[in-house]
């Protein structure tokens, strides 16, 4: 039968395709070359626009060519009449749109559009919003487009309420949308500004409850979708704590003043400045970190001249002013006393509850209830378990301690990939709880033994501790931050897997150190101890270094001031 459709064989097809590709490549290369030549020669005219549009139309990710176009457009701006320019801009916008259709996630294209729009005298923002809506319709998680939308919304001063409604509509369609949830977290504080908090502040309770319900719908529908959990955490979280001086300590013996801050700072010229007032008159001092390294630290200290510590006066007052942090603290050293201090207590300042906190604990309580309900249905959902733990900590860390530990166990079993992270988190919570207990008991002795700790944290909070027990844990090191424990006299760290002692340095009052059954390999790891002047008793039994021939001699040589070294 004639007049029928016949089909090329696969070889013919392949050959045709190959030729076509070759042709395309040739065109592409020659156009690129011409553009570069023209650019070098400074011929920035419309022909460059034409050439670059051929290439960019096929490959919008060629960033250099976008730069080229920008140069041309800038040049033309000076030469053309307003009407011609308007036409030029119109074609450029159309061209950009066609490039976005080729690749809706091209950085260069979106950036160029931003650039172009911000140069226009009367940009049509409504059209841009429409464009974003259309691209988000196709891919609601295209964060390039979200970025651009935020840019447009800011430029066009779109009311936050409208943008919020837009995020609503996208979440309704598919709630697995990080960008949309994130945008909400930016818009809500703008919509409901709270007087006493900054930009990252809290939401009024009615708004908060509505958001919590929305996000609950999401994680009850699909508890494995993390976007909703992240938003949930933001809802319940609070802003970074305000800058503060947490503790101020003066010691007459060591003629030394120690300060701890709410965040690590770097004191020195050109960075943070600290002002020390002794008896209301400024005193110039040298600030240093406990481990003598110049880097951001929670704790800073300085030597005091004998004059400011003399015992003639009934008392001396010391005030440290942190200028950048807009905070200060004062303490008094009474006549006849060895030391004086002033500190924020973890018990009333809720220092450790910055992970999650909402003014109303009823809200937290009801969140805890619904998460527990979900956990019953989804016993293996890690997000749910983690949220329960965080909620319990925010509500009452000591009351829920036991339960929290059980949840940690379950969580580790269902999420073995993050076991180490979870161990560290658990260690942190346990240290916090122990600190709380110590402060409630108003003692300076901290027991952290037998807790399976993998990491030590909040050491800056332990400035005043004299006795510390770290035995029977899984610690691998005594970290440099330990040097902040200026009052430490006895440190027990038996039965760990400690290999390094970087933190046991410059501890002015340390007398006894127990390090039995650890993994200290070489006598040289004990080097930091040399800087502890009062160390007299050192237990090293059960460490590999004891096995070495002549170990005792070696150690005696290294630490001549230590009276007894038990190996």
């Amino acid at each position: 039968m004639h007049g029928r459709l016949k089909v090329k064989t696969s070889e013919e097809q392949a050959e045709a395709k190959r030729l076509e590709r070759e042709q395309k490549l040739k065109l592409y290369q020659s156009a690129t070359q011409t553009v570069f030549q023209k650019r070098q020669a400074g011929e920035l005219d419309e022909s460059v626009l034409e050439l670059t549009s051929q290439i960019l139309g096929a490959n919008p990710d060629f960033a250099t060519l976008w730069n080229c176009r920008r140069e041309v457009l800038q040049q033309l701006e000076a030469q053309k009449s307003p009407e011609e320019l308007a036409a030029l801009v119109k074609t450029e916008l159309g061209f950009l749109e066609s490039c976005l259709r080729v690749n809706p996630k091209s950085y260069g294209t979106w950036h160029h559009r931003c650039w172009l729009l911000s140069r226009l005298p009367e940009p049509n923002w409504a059209r841009e919003l429409e464009l974003c809506a259309r691209f988000l319709e196709v891919d609601e998680r295209n964060f390039h487009c979200w970025d651009y939308r935020r840019f447009v919304a800011t430029q066009a001063a779109v009311p936050p309420a409208e943008e919020l409604a837009f995020t609503d509509s996208l979440i309704t369609r598919n709630f697995s949308n990080y960008s949309s949830w994130h945008y909400r977290s930016c818009l809500l504080p703008q919509l409901h500004p709270q007087p006493d908090s900054g930009s990252q502040g809290r939401l009024p309770e009615d708004v908060l409850l509505k958001e919590l319900e929305l996000v609950q719908n999401a994680f009850f529908t699909d508890p494995n979708d993390q976007s909703a959990w992240f938003y949930h955490r933001w809802l319940l979280g609070r802003a970074d704590p305000q800058d503060a001086l947490r503790c101020l300590h003066v010691s007459r013996d060591e003629a030394c003043l120690t300060v701890s801050f709410s965040r690590p700072i770097l004191v020195g010229s050109g960075t943070e400045t600290l002002l020390l007032m002794v008896d209301e008159s400024p005193l110039a001092v040298e600030w240093r970190t406990p481990d003598a390294r110049t880097r951001p630290s929670h704790v800073w200290l300085c030597d005091l001249p004998a004059a400011s510590l003399n015992d003639q006066l009934p008392q001396h007052t010391f005030r440290v002013i942190w200028t950048a942090g807009d905070a200060q603290k004062e303490c008094v050293l009474l006549k006849g006393r060895q030391e004086g201090w002033c500190r924020d207590s973890a018990t009333d300042e809720q220092l450790f509850r910055c992970e999650l906190s909402v003014e109303k604990s009823t809200v937290l309580q009801s969140e805890l209830e619904s998460c527990k309900e979900l956990q019953e249905l989804e016993p293996e959902n890690k997000w749910c378990l983690l949220t329960i733990i965080l909620l319990m900590r925010a509500l009452d860390p000591l009351l829920y301690e036991k339960e929290t530990l059980q949840y940690f166990q379950t969580l580790k079993a269902v999420d073995p990939m993050r076991a180490a992270y979870l161990d560290d988190l658990r260690s942190k919570f346990l240290v916090e709880n122990s600190v709380l207990k110590m402060e409630y008991a108003e003692v300076r002795v901290l027991h952290l033994g037998h807790k399976d700790l993998t990491v030590l944290c909040h050491l800056e909070q332990l400035l005043l501790v004299t006795h510390l027990d770290l035995s029977h844990n899984r610690l691998r090191a005594l970290p440099p931050a330990l040097a902040a424990l200026r009052c430490l006299e006895v440190l027990q760290a038996n039965d760990n897997t400690i290999e390094s002692l970087d933190g046991v340095t410059n501890l002015p009052r340390l007398r006894e150190l127990s390090l039995c059954n650890n993994r200290l390999q070489q006598p040289t790891v004990l080097q930091p101890l040399v800087s502890c002047p009062k160390l007299v008793l050192l237990h090293l039994q059960g460490n590999p270094l004891c096995q070495a021939v002549g170990a005792s001699e070696h150690l005696a040589e290294l630490l001549p001031s230590v009276n007894s070294i038990l190996t």
Binding site: M1, H2, G3, R4, L5, K6, V7, K8, E12, Q13, A16, V138, T172, R173, N174, F175, Q216, N217, A218, F220, T221, D222, P223, S370, E373, L374, L377, E378
Partner: protein
Amino acid sequence: MADQLPTEFDVVIIGTGLPESILAAACSRSGQRVLHLDSRSYYGGNWASFSFSGLLSWLKEYQQNSAIAEESTASWQGLIHETEEAVTLRKKDETIQHTEVFCYASQDVDDGVEEMEALQKSPSSATSSATPDPLHSACLPGETHSLHAASYETPAKDTPKSGGEVSLEVTDVEDTLAKEEYCGDETRTPAVSDGDEDGKKPVEKDSTDRPKRKKITYSQIVKESRRFNIDLVSKLLYSQGLLIDLLIKSNVSRYAEFKNVTRILAFREGKVEQVPCSRADVFNSKELTMVEKRILMKFLTFCLDYEQHPDQYQAFVQCSFSEYLQTKKLTPNLQHFVLHSIAMTESSCSTIDGLKATKNFLRCLGRFGNTPFLFPLYGQGEIPQCFCRMCAVFGGIYCLRHKVQCLVVDKDSGKCKAIIDHLGQRINAKYFIVEDSYLSEETCSNVQYKQISRAVLITDQSILKADSDQQISILVVPPVESGTCAVRVTELCSSTMTCMKDTYLVHLTCSSSKTAREDLESVVKKLFTPYSETEVDQEECTKPRLLWALYFNMRDSSGISRSSYEGLPSNVYVCSGPDCALGSEHAVKQAETLFQEMFPNEEFCPPPPNPEDIIFDGDDKQPEAPGANNIIMAKVDSSEGSKNPESPEKQLQN
């Protein structure tokens, strides 16, 4: 009829229902010479869609049931040789029974004239205007045989068009729309349907001038007859189903447009409610509690790969699905949703079948939208025609209103050699495909047929009001007493191009136990109230009102084994009519199976070649060969470029 058909073919197909049309496309595509015949004046057989007046004519034909047969058929006995015998075919269709029509809309006298006009139209003219016939010009230029056939088929209508204009996509929606737009005087059809939007547009327009229900009279329905495309069988396409896959693979999808079904509904405790079935639905649902959301999602997620978790259902293999659901902590409303709206099974169905059905439903979610179903614009009847068009593009020849009197069987080989048509022409072929309803009583003497009960309603409101009045909904009403069947209700809005503005077209389907009206009337009464001039009480007023209703039974010839037909030669293959199921899986499977039986080494409906890979196998004798060559390339090309936004493959890329 001056033109004579050619007498040599590879395959002769009798009946233009879905399986026959798919087979026609497949055979033609693989290079067979195909003759596709239908004794009716319209495409699709029992798969057809009609305009309102077309449907009335169709009804009349069945009601006048008397002997219209024996018109003027040439005698065939003389054409049978000594070595041959004849297997006669049935003279009139007997697949439709118990048709009953009820009109509730007011029949204003002043409009009576028009109504008469519509009714008096001869069946053929009414139907040909009803089905926007895509095939009239779907032939190749200079292709003598096709031209032949086209002019043979509709001599008057096609002459101006078929002169040489080739088009694979002539009757695009726009085109049909344009025609319709031209015809319609008062109401405007929403512009080219592009997704959900056009569902909203008319609403906005309406809201201003429609504070109350709009009154629709019978004469308006008749006047707007062409807005209706009323399906004889009510089916939807599973978006991961065999039919969609076939449409996409074969690129036949380019001939059709689809809309997503927008809602899955449930009828529970006397109320219609929406079933949350997708993730987004569950998230947005205001009716479900948090815990219900979780339980439902958990169960549905499990169903998606239930085979991987045998521990979760193994113990219940012997139980029914509904008993199994009770053990899954699902609250009663969730059980109802899963059983009747998602799995859409009978309560008695086994756990495994229920899980399978649920999985199938879920698998289809999200491919094209938030429900698993698609509905073809202009009705289900479009689908067979799309395949016919594909067949014609590859050279198949079409004749409607062409009866076949008998099959000619060679006594020696026992094989069928030819057919003899009503003009007494003998046409030879190697393979013969016959739709069940064409087979004579003699051939079917041992066959036990099932029946489908159908109702078609025109109503004035949706069964569940929503923000947008452009909703396509599917609802399964479970049986009240055991032993009867669940009734499937499909409600179509005007943007599906199957009914006029301000009306809804409702299809009810169940497998028959009695006559259609006896099977379905109780459900109709539950959901609707008859239209009446006088205002009814408040409660009744909330139900949508019936303007017009039709009940009929259709024979269900699916599931008949080939061996139950008496005395059919081995090269005669039988296709069945529509089955009762929601999808068209059976038809596709049947077509593919028969095709593989006939041509075991050929691929079934392979993707059509890319335009650039087509070589036009022109012939020197063709005067306009070089020109035509270019035209066809251009046309095929443009069809590639201008794909309609709803076509599945485009959607897929997104």
